[in-house]
Symmetry: C2
Subunit: 206 residues, 2 copies
């Protein structure tokens, strides 16, 4: 499921950067795969819960359910990016892409690391993901400011800038989901709840 | 927890409509209450799962965990609205509010009905919530179009329009969370997964 979510994001970015309409359309169609995964994982989880004897198993199962929900949402964000790519591809390119591909890179790497930390029960790697969310947030704000400036400079830029603001926000949300997953893994490994812990978000904890 | 989430949204809207800065600041500060609720409900759920003997109990517990996650996110959206209210209150009002209060009204009523359906195990009421999401989506698109028009008409409108676009999107997401909760309740009552079912989303099912 994580591989399918990562592929969807990678393809959505490719559809945007390479102005590839058929690819963008395919992403929208394939989103139902992730929806089905989530339903299957939920059913399997409830089934396993009826048989799970140990508290540690229960924690693993509930965390798996939460992670599948995050991955399904990552797929939704990929669909949003693909939709905006289709709208943007119909018009001349506003400007060369710089920060948006960087954001996509960071967000995808966070997602990969978060999933690796889950598979390997690697709390240290999971903890390394969490502070990186701030970088993506900062890039999103920078992109937002830059596009607001382009809109003010010329009303012809407004529609395209709005599409790009949505893309940037989607990438920021993908990084949020990766952070959620990493926080769940830390909780799983250390039975310690790091969600909403400011020291860990800053990367100064431990 | 649901009451706290609803209060946060109601207050965020009041801070926006009445240009009330102290209220907006308070919402941002009180968001940690919802964060703490989510952690407590998760801990309690895992604890109950170790003792739950029946499949129907397990389902109730996992659904409760998911609902608490949705409510925590509703609180995050309220904080977003409060932040944008602070930014908007520092400038002259762009235009009288029409569609945004209507969206808030619809979204809050969806949230209340979804939570009532959970408390009363009322699948019928839960099913009535799901198609209402489309109304809020349509209003969000209309607000988006209108604000894009205002931006094109005058660059001085751009910053304020962008804040209002974010507010409108937050309200649309609150309605999404209410829809998620309603879908979980249907699943709980009927052990039937309605998520990603197009007929139910259209309101033509059953």
């Amino acid at each position: 499921m994580a591989a399918a979510a990562e592929t969807a994001v990678t393809r959505a970015m490719k559809a945007l950067l390479d102005r590839d309409d058929p690819l963008a359309t395919r992403i929208k169609e394939e989103d139902s795969v992730l929806d089905q995964f989530e339903i299957q994982i939920d059913d399997l989880s409830v089934d396993l819960l009826t048989k799970a004897p140990l508290a540690s198993d229960l924690r693993l199962i509930t965390v798996a359910m939460k992670i599948s929900h995050d991955l399904e949402r990552v797929g939704d964000e990929a669909t949003t990016i693909a939709r905006r790519a289709l709208a943007l591809n119909a018009e001349p390119q506003l400007k060369p892409f710089v920060d948006i591909p960087r954001m996509a890179d960071l967000a995808l790497r966070m997602l990969k690391d978060a999933m690796l930390s889950f598979v390997n029960h690697d709390a240290k790697r999971a903890l390394s993901v969490i502070p990186r969310d701030k970088e993506v947030d900062a890039l999103n704000k920078q992109v937002h400011r830059e596009l607001a400036g382009l809109m003010m400079a010329n009303p012809d830029n407004i529609t395209r800038s709005l599409h790009l603001i949505v893309v940037s926000k989607s990438l920021e949300r993908i990084a949020d989901h990766a952070t959620n997953i990493a926080e769940e893994v830390v909780y799983l490994c250390e039975a310690k709840d790091v969600r909403h812990d400011p020291a860990i978000k800053r990367g100064t904890a431990g």
